[in-house]
């Protein structure tokens, strides 16, 4: 192996080799060959049930049936230490009624350091507080997790993921179910962490508002359909194959916008059936209205 190749190989943090993942039934993911470089910021996109979260779970070794090899830093994931990877769950899956203070949640990420002791060491608690400070929610350690704003809650779980000083940060739908302000806050925070050298992989179903801004995107639907810079790979053909639906890609002034083509057809069908009523209800909207609607806050989540 040449020196150049060795240097290149050293940059790979996560490597999937011919990986097939399954739970009880048929495989969710197959033929996965993927590398994630150290310092990368990667988004995984795809329709519901495409295996986005399974791909993340395979990186932490909790998928029940895995064939092939998944390695982090050259080590098989099954033999990794508990804190080499930080995991941030979807905020919607968190039990917000659970009696836990911010510090208690953050310290869960350090449970393995003194696993038989009920209380955390002063050093661990100090570290938790420093991390909270660094993430901009210093002094909130004694608050109950429910008392924080959406962006602050996301930071608590980021802190739990980061307290073990991981080399890789995995986030499952970090922007799903959060309002517009929180989403921007989270993305900027992740960009800052990435700039400091953290490797980040997240799943998202938001192509325009999240994935299009990331430097590298992997399109998944049971297998890897394409990967690359969204400027290059967000095409009707690739997204059509990923989502199994007709999508339009609009490029204007360096911005990529992806739009579902189905509403056009739906509207045509409705117009055909209710020629007057439909026109009346929608005459104020411009033709491509749904493209902008993509970027509007998801109705029920807006404060």
């Amino acid at each position: 192996m040449s020196i150049a190749r060795a240097a290149l190989a050293a940059d790979v943090l996560v490597r999937f080799e011919d990986v097939r993942c399954a739970y009880a039934g048929p495989p969710v993911l197959r033929d996965i060959n993927l590398t994630i470089e150290r310092g990368a910021f990667v988004g995984i996109v795809g329709p519901s049930g495409a295996g986005k979260t399974t791909l993340l779970r395979a990186m932490v070794g909790v998928v029940p049936r895995v064939e092939g090899r998944v390695t982090i830093d050259g080590q098989p994931v099954a033999s990794r230490g508990p804190s080499t990877v930080g995991w941030v769950p979807q905020l919607q899956t968190v039990d917000w009624q659970f009696p836990a203070t911010v510090r208690e949640v953050v310290l869960m990420g350090r449970w393995a350091t003194q696993r038989w002791r009920a209380w955390s060491s002063l050093e661990d608690r100090q570290q938790a507080d420093n991390l909270l400070e660094r993430l901009g929610i210093g002094g909130m350690g004694d608050r109950h997790i429910r008392e924080l704003s959406g962006g602050q809650q996301q930071r608590v779980f980021l802190a739990r993921a980061m307290i073990g000083d991981p080399s890789l940060l995995l986030l499952d739908e970090p922007t799903s179910g959060v309002d517009l302000k929180t989403r921007d806050e989270v993305l900027h925070l992740l960009a800052d962490l990435n700039a400091e050298g953290m490797t980040i992989v997240l799943t998202t179903h938001e192509l325009n508002t999240v994935a299009a801004h990331l430097p590298w995107v992997v399109c998944v639907n049971g297998r890897v359909i394409a990967e690359g810079d969204p400027d290059d790979i967000f095409t009707s053909a690739i997204l059509g194959r990923t989502y199994g639906a007709e999508l339009r890609v609009v490029r204007q002034d360096g911005i990529v916008l992806v739009a579902d083509a189905a509403p056009h057809r739906l509207r045509d069908a409705l117009r055909h059936r209710h020629p007057e009523g439909f026109e009346h209800a929608h005459h104020e909207h411009p033709d491509h209205h749904h493209v902008h609607a993509e970027d509007a806050p998801d109705g029920p989540h807006a404060p």
Partner: protein, 292 residues
């Protein structure tokens, strides 16, 4: 002072007091996890299951604790296994396993008439019949469960809060779950002579729920719940003595009174919560249209 010292002259009272203090402590401690893991119904069901095991043990003239404990532990594992099958909810699994188990006990009793008196004691508790052996068992189980909670505290907290994520951080959930089932079965078997099959669920659930109202911290909730359990156990014995009410019922009624007091206290004193924080993590978009 005679209020406290007079009943202490009786051996049965001293033993009963020790037993109810220990059972209150034990159930208050473990109840936190049962409530937070939403297993209250399992606690209720397991006590009925254990009853079946106890009767089988009696009929087969086998040791009560071994028979009831083993049966309870196996029931807990059977519930877990049944609930993991597709299409059977945990609640239905509990209903099937524990009620069938209870029915075995009732069926056996109807065949062997001589059991009537103990039958009542098993259902409603018989604190006056607490033997030194019972005390040793309750004390042993209390110590064992306390050690389990202390040693596994971090794991238990993580997997109770976040059962999906804890394995990702290396918590062996399956192993701790089995130990927890064992702790629960042991707790129920140890408590059955004191509070009875029908009242155990209350002693598991009420102190921890009361403690939950009083604090937002997991650590403080365990301490408070244990204290409320011990207090109601001890106080309950005295009230039961002076008012001549069945002791198991007195303990549960006291706990219910503590709960109501905490509820009232919260309504009066607690500052309003930050409502805005909740809106920020609302449920998923009900319209189901994903932003592409």
């Amino acid at each position: 002072m005679t209020l406290i010292s007079e009943p202490m002259a009786f051996e049965f009272f001293r033993q009963g007091l020790a037993a109810s203090l220990l059972v209150g402590t034990l159930c208050g401690m473990l109840g936190v996890f049962i409530v937070l893991r939403r297993m209250s119904y399992i606690g209720h069901g397991l006590s009925h299951s254990v009853f079946g095991g106890a009767v089988i043990g009696y009929v087969a003239s086998f040791n009560f604790y071994l028979a009831a404990g083993l049966w309870g532990f196996l029931s807990a594992l059977a519930i877990n296994a049944t609930a993991r099958r597709r299409g059977i909810g945990a609640d239905a699994a509990i209903g099937i396993v524990t009620t069938a188990s209870f029915a075995i006990g009732v069926a056996l009793i109807s065949k062997t008439r001589s059991f009537t008196r103990n039958f009542e004691a098993a259902l409603f508790g018989n604190i006056l019949g607490v033997t030194p052996l019972d005390l040793v068992v309750v004390a042993g189980v209390t110590l064992g469960v306390a050690a389990f909670i202390l040693l596994f505290y971090k794991r238990l907290l993580f997997m109770t809060f976040d059962p999906e994520v804890a394995p990702i951080y290396g918590v062996n959930v399956g192993w701790v779950d089995s130990l927890f089932a064992l702790a629960m079965a042991a707790t129920i078997v140890a408590s059955i002579n004191v509070v009875g099959v029908t009242l155990i669920a209350a002693t598991l659930v009420i102190p921890s729920t009361t403690a939950r109202l009083m604090t937002d911290s997991f650590g403080r909730m365990i301490v408070l719940s244990t204290a409320i359990g011990a207090l109601s156990g001890g106080l309950g014995m005295y009230v039961s003595y002076w008012l001549d009410i069945a002791s198991g019922a007195t303990i549960v009624l006291l706990q219910a009174a503590f709960f109501l007091a905490a509820l009232a206290g919260v309504a009066i004193f607690r500052r309003p919560r930050n409502a805005g924080a909740r809106a920020a993590v609302a449920s998923p978009d009900p319209s189901g249209h994903d932003a592409i």
